[in-house]
Symmetry: C2
Subunit: 830 residues, 2 copies
């Protein structure tokens, strides 16, 4: 018998049925006395949950409840909370009995007061936030701070020790849980998934985890699908789905579900305890066999379907209307408590039903017999050393010397190479250097099926694509212990990487630039987490979230307009400056240097934008190091200023670029100017760290006013070729001197045609357009300018005609390289 039904609760007829599920989960021994204590701990947690929502004072109700004890604004989510506190209570018991290292991920992070109550009862909260002490004064602060000015927000955010998951924006609980479990063989991640969250796309896709989780090398994820039946104002889909269908749904994706349902606390406690205990045993057995070399595939991982009433143990009815077990208990079950004496009395009665005086002594300290129920030290759920807290440690990546991967150049802009290929070789060796005997490691690569097409295929010399599914004869680079995670879901890639870095490991998410927008909201939410974590007591710096945007808008004209979109740049640029960087390495060696910077940085979101295809290469490794460290440089070899003169005298015009294709086009334009109007003083600038453009004080990477003037002068017109939307540059520049002089060309949503013209015609950023713009914006009319303008216009016409006829660019564009007849050596750029 594998379905545990403790007692009927009010779910629709036909919804609940005994089901056949895989695996045996016999009931465990659970002495009555221990159960009674656990129920008391649960009551204490529920009390603190409700008290946080309602009270600003009188935290243990030792005085009669008066209006001034109630917060003026009632916020927080009660409905999901008693289920969360129950799971916490019983995970405590599991850890007490087995010593298992458990991380709890709370999908319904809206139940923040419940998670916080658990952390407070564990003692962890007071350790991290000493002002919220384990006594009456601390209790007062605990209730007062919740969701009030000067206090804490209402979710399981960074202020809650043990949390790696805020649960604000729903959908990512199981992804964060999976990321935490990867490569952490001793960890059990218990992940509560709410039935509201279960309706989201990312969560729906993340049930496929058993196809990727290796019992030999990885930790375990135990989903607890908590069906309390309602969202904010109506029933949930899974809440109204029969046990049979819910279990079939989970079983079809590699889980062995058991159902625990009921509304009688003692019965549900016994049933859930047995389910947790059985799940742990099944997991341990699976892992033991796998680690002994047995083939356990297809592994069926335990999962628990938990049906308890929404707002359980809260007010049954209010003003004659049912509340417990309905959506009316989703947020605050009793409203208007300050003014309505009847409601206030009902609140007092409800709060007192948890018998706070039996949980807390005269000083407001948790009574010893309840305090003893928490596991010890780091085994406390809220003290997990995985969760970014004080005892959390990040092992730095053993990065090899970049010299072994750098391209040798004979000069700038001559060699063509796939820019991301050396990065793949670097990552290959990072994977090798971090490999453990069990197949695990500290670094993973995440990508929607594009590792090879993104020219990162060298990693397959060191590892495989990860799959737990059958591998056919002759198939290569595919296996259960692969550390390349390929799944056609940007949500899964991003969410797994988030979970992986939130628990201290390193990774890279490599993806199509346009479709990176699929996970834009996740990047925003993760940046917020990093931002808040940076100043939160007790939180240690996390490895950065590194996102490589390749297959960019400039080289996807053949795939059509849907594949062209630099929108993630617009999304990330306005986020908190202290956690955001957007990198535009112009070539392979600078990509290596940027990657090194990203992989050693902490607590940032790094967007690296670089195309995978053949591109001209410009910088030696040393030059790339100087360039990346500066964030942007004058490329003197490409300009026509007299050496040594530029500091005292401004050029006639500045040509600037950020991005690989823009760099090439700016250089080709500079060459046209050099050849046809040699007396025009042109400065060529390359920007690799976009945030340098922001004014000082607005970003840690902002160029100093002196450096900014060194690059762009204070008054000369700048023709700026930008990889992204052109208007993305102007907001960065606001606050710099005279920004009207910046004339930006970039990717525009031109496409009032389905025609995939090649790059130079398709956009307004070609070398000819840039040269024309430089002539137009120059301080003086150079001799030969008219002739060059005519040439540019003619070339644009010729090119347009040529590509329609020959279906490819003009030969002089396809085969263009940098060439300067007046110089033969590579000169240092600065």
């Amino acid at each position: 018998m594998s379905t545990t039904q403790a007692s009927p609760i009010d779910v629709p007829a036909g919804t609940r049925a005994p089901v056949e599920v895989t695996g045996e989960h016999p009931a465990d021994d659970y002495p009555d006395g221990e159960l009674a204590l656990d129920l008391r701990w649960w009551s204490a947690a529920n009390y603190l949950t409700a008290a946080q929502i309602y009270l600003r004072d009188n935290p243990l109700l030792r005085q009669p409840l008066r209006p001034e004890h109630i917060k003026p604004r009632l916020l927080g989510h009660w409905g999901t909370s008693p289920g969360l506190t129950m799971v916490h209570t019983l995970l405590n018991r599991l850890v007490r009995r087995t010593g298992t290292e458990v991380l709890m991920v709370t999908g319904p992070g809206h139940g923040g007061p419940a998670v916080l109550a658990g952390a407070y009862l564990d003692g962890t909260y007071s350790e991290v936030h000493p002002a919220v002490s384990a006594d009456l004064a601390g209790l007062h602060r605990l209730v007062r701070q919740f969701s009030t000015p000067g206090g804490v927000s209402s979710h399981a955010g960074v202020h809650v020790p043990g949390s790696i998951h805020e649960g604000g924006e729903l959908g990512y609980a199981l992804l964060h849980a999976a990321g935490a479990a990867f490569d952490d063989p001793d960890l059990l991640v218990a992940c509560v998934v709410g039935d509201g969250e279960a309706e989201t796309g990312p969560l729906a896709a993340s049930w496929r985890l058993p196809a990727f989780l290796d019992p030999g090398r990885d930790g375990a994820v135990l989903p607890i699908l908590h069906l309390n039946g309602y969202k904010i104002s109506g029933p949930t889909v899974l809440g109204r789905t029969s046990d049979d269908d819910v279990c079939r749904f989970l079983a079809s994706q590699g889980w062995a579900p058991v159902v625990v349902a009921g509304d009688q606390p003692d019965h549900v406690f016994r049933a859930l305890d047995a389910a947790l205990s059985g799940a742990r045993r099944t997991i341990a057995d699976l892992q033991r066999r796998a680690r002994a070399g047995q083939d356990v595939r297809p592994a069926r991982w335990p999962a628990i379907v938990l049906r308890t009433p929404k707002g359980w143990t809260g007010p049954r009815t209010v003003d004659g209307v049912p509340v417990e077990g309905t959506q009316r208990s989703h947020q605050v079950p009793l409203a208007n408590v300050r003014d309505d004496a009847g409601h206030r009395a009902q609140l007092a009665e409800w709060l007192r039903s948890y018998r706070p005086d039996e949980a807390f002594d005269a000083d407001g300290r948790l009574v010893p017999e309840l305090a003893a129920l928490s596991p010890r030290g780091d085994l406390r759920l809220s003290a997990s050393p995985r969760a970014g807290g004080p005892r959390f440690r990040v092992r730095p990546l053993p990065l090899p010397d970049l010299t072994d991967y750098a391209l040798d150049l004979t000069g700038p802009g001559v060699l063509e190479h796939e820019t991301t290929r050396p990065l793949g070789e670097l990552l290959r060796d990072v994977i090798t250097r971090t490999s453990r005997a069990d197949g695990g490691g500290d670094f993973r690569l995440f990508s929607p099926d594009e590792t090879a097409s993104n020219r990162l295929g060298a990693v397959f010399e060191a590892t495989d694509r990860c799959t737990q599914l059958p591998v056919l004869p002759g198939e290569e680079h595919l296996g259960p212990q692969g550390r390349v995670m390929e799944v056609l879901s940007e949500h899964l890639c991003e969410g797994w990487l988030e979970g992986y870095t939130l628990t201290g490991r390193h990774g890279l998410f490599a993806t199509y630039e346009a479709f990176a927008m699929v996970a834009a909201s996740m990047v925003v939410q993760h940046a917020k987490w990093l931002q808040l974590a940076a100043t939160e007591p007790g939180r240690s710096p996390l490895p950065s979230l590194n996102v490589l945007l390749t297959s960019t808008c400039w080289r996807n004209d053949h795939n059509g307009f849907s594949h062209q979109g630099p929108g993630l740049i617009d999304t990330v640029a306005p986020l908190a400056p202290e956690v955001t960087r957007i990198w535009f390495p112009p070539d392979a060696n600078s990509t290596l240097v940027v990657a090194e910077q990203c992989l050693t940085s902490r607590g940032q979101v790094n967007l690296v934008v670089v195309d995978k295809q053949q591109h001209l290469q410009y910088l030696t490794l040393d030059q790339a190091r100087t360039h990346v460290a500066a964030g942007g440089s004058v490329w003197e070899w490409a300009g026509t200023e007299e050496p040594g003169r530029q500091r005292s005298e401004d050029p006639d015009v500045v040509l600037a670029a950020a991005g690989d294709v823009p760099t090439m086009e700016v250089l080709a334009a500079a060459q046209l100017l050099r050849e046809h109007v040699p007396h025009l003083r042109v400065r060529v600038v390359n920007v690799v760290d976009l945030m340098g453009l922001l004014p000082p004080g607005e970003h840690p990477a902002a160029f100093t006013p002196e450096r900014f003037a060194h690059l762009f002068t204070d008054s000369v017109d700048v023709v700026f070729a930008f990889h992204g939307h052109p208007r993305a540059i102007h907001p960065l520049l606001h606050g710099r001197p005279d920004i009207d002089r910046f004339h930006v060309r970039g990717f525009t949503e031109h496409g009032s045609t389905t025609t995939p013209f090649d790059m130079v015609v398709l956009n307004r950023m070609s070398r000819y357009h840039l040269a024309l713009e430089a002539l137009r914006r120059s301080r003086r009319v150079p001799e030969g300018g008219d002739r060059l303008a005519r040439l540019c216009h003619a070339q644009l016409d010729r090119h347009r005609a040529h590509v329609v006829d020959a279906l490819e660019d003009l030969p002089e564009i396809r085969t263009w390289t940098w060439h300067d007849p007046t110089r033969t050596d590579i000169e240092e750029n600065r």
Copy 2:
């Protein structure tokens, strides 16, 4: 027997097993002669598919294949194509035999050449694009245009008649199919879902459709889950999942799947034909019973799991390596065909295997016996009048007169009201006016469970939340024929609305501002579709995509930082100007006017940003009409310029706002200035149509230079209070005179604290900050300015202390209303 297995194909041992599924699908009569003809039609479609990928000339291979007949760059996706053409062939048969109106949605839109081949063979393509005629000249154009400069992109984009779904960014096929089926009772939407796409989050969540699709009122969606086993470089999850598990997965969510598998064309054709025919009968029966008033719930909708080899009928091996049935046939199975004579010979042999000369006559016309296989007229898949083509019609919404919903005001800024509530009343009556007897209609509201909390609850006087799942006694506003679609997935809401509007109906997606970012990528892709459709021959204008962003960043401080994010504004602003509008109605009446504008507009993405909570109301309906029509106005009643003087003399400073909270704060700042520095000439401007800021030529809504100067002058400093990220304003202004003078305050990702301070302290956009900034930026130092500055600083300190103590804003802020001692009447704003 419900599983149809035609012949074994190379899938892993254990993957395939007979399964028990619901429903009977007996094999149909399929005469050998008709099958032979259908196989020939299929071959012709496959030929045209491969020819489009490879050939630029010699379209029927009537000359020996030479290098110059081959495109220089080989692009397109062969792997999925033969399956798509087979589905098209057999849907043709279904329509021929039954007259069913079928819309085909092609999830694997990367198989664009296959979809296009079908539209060409139908004759539809030549009707819409006469230059690509149904003869040899047209065939030449057909192959040459594909994925080349001057030609067409490689997906099932707007250029493909009959397509409502590009299939570029994966994940939305089943959502678009569902949106098309809603309220269209006679329509069968056949939706091919690729096994790559099936890994995405949005697609995974969209399998839950049976919980929302009403057999009585809606059309049907028939998913065809096409498992060819591979993505671009590895196996797919579902491709490696057993039939048993795939069917359990689908069955658990309300589908009755049958499996069709094999690699022998004639066998697979018979099996798929029987499955399609059986599905249609099951659907017809289900709908007939539901429409006769029987309770058919829970309805189990047919679905087809189709396993055929990737790159079926293409090269089996190339250079000794298996290609057919592997990921190597995903894109171009034979590479380097121009230079490699062996490959070229293999290509010619492969192409000739389709016997093009038996399909096309000497003039290149499809032979009559094959042409006869297409359905007639509008019944052709590619000619569906639902799909935006020439015979597509949009029924305008019967909008009621706004007068009935407008708030009566006694003056500006006195009445408080929930701004979105009158909109809910308007939508209620739109729903009533568009209701059909069968429960269907032309308008639906989509929201992640927030209709009531967004104060749009009046709609429940006219309709229900839609659910096909059990409804419990006492539950209200919940039923199978509801036209309010609530599901906790922004992807589903957005995707369903897209499908609904792509087929000519109207709707509104109302959602949390921060979490609207979840669907940002979908909004981008839909905008691209609208943009391209606007100039595509044969495409009619579609109803706009209307997105209401409410629960905004300014009123979510209590929910914490995760709930605050105006990022969708940054995403939409750089999209094509001809299809984008971002509206900031300051109050309820202007919201009504904006809503009317959005619901009557065509082909746009309309973001409407307005908070749901109690806000001051400023404009009468007539004033709101004038204001919205202008896009932005001077609110003379709020400024301190002398009447009539402003045109000849500039003010000392301009205070501008866009957004409801910014409007209130600007007015409160203006009142402070009026009271304390009455001689300062302040102009107060309100902007409702953000795109008006863009310079002329950059957006159809751009203010003329004269209007811009009327609002902002040419040189006076402007303190601009903006709803979104402050730096989002600068890129819009670039190109306007002297933009350095604009000083924008808005929502910043401040939160280096978890503290939910209330609005006025939390941000830098409060009335006191705005007044201080106005003093600082003013052209002259007004008498009393120092005193006001001291007052503002003192109030900020007082307020900060007060909220920490009282947990709410200062009374004078909470209860502030507009008050002008010198005027008593409402004056016209302009």
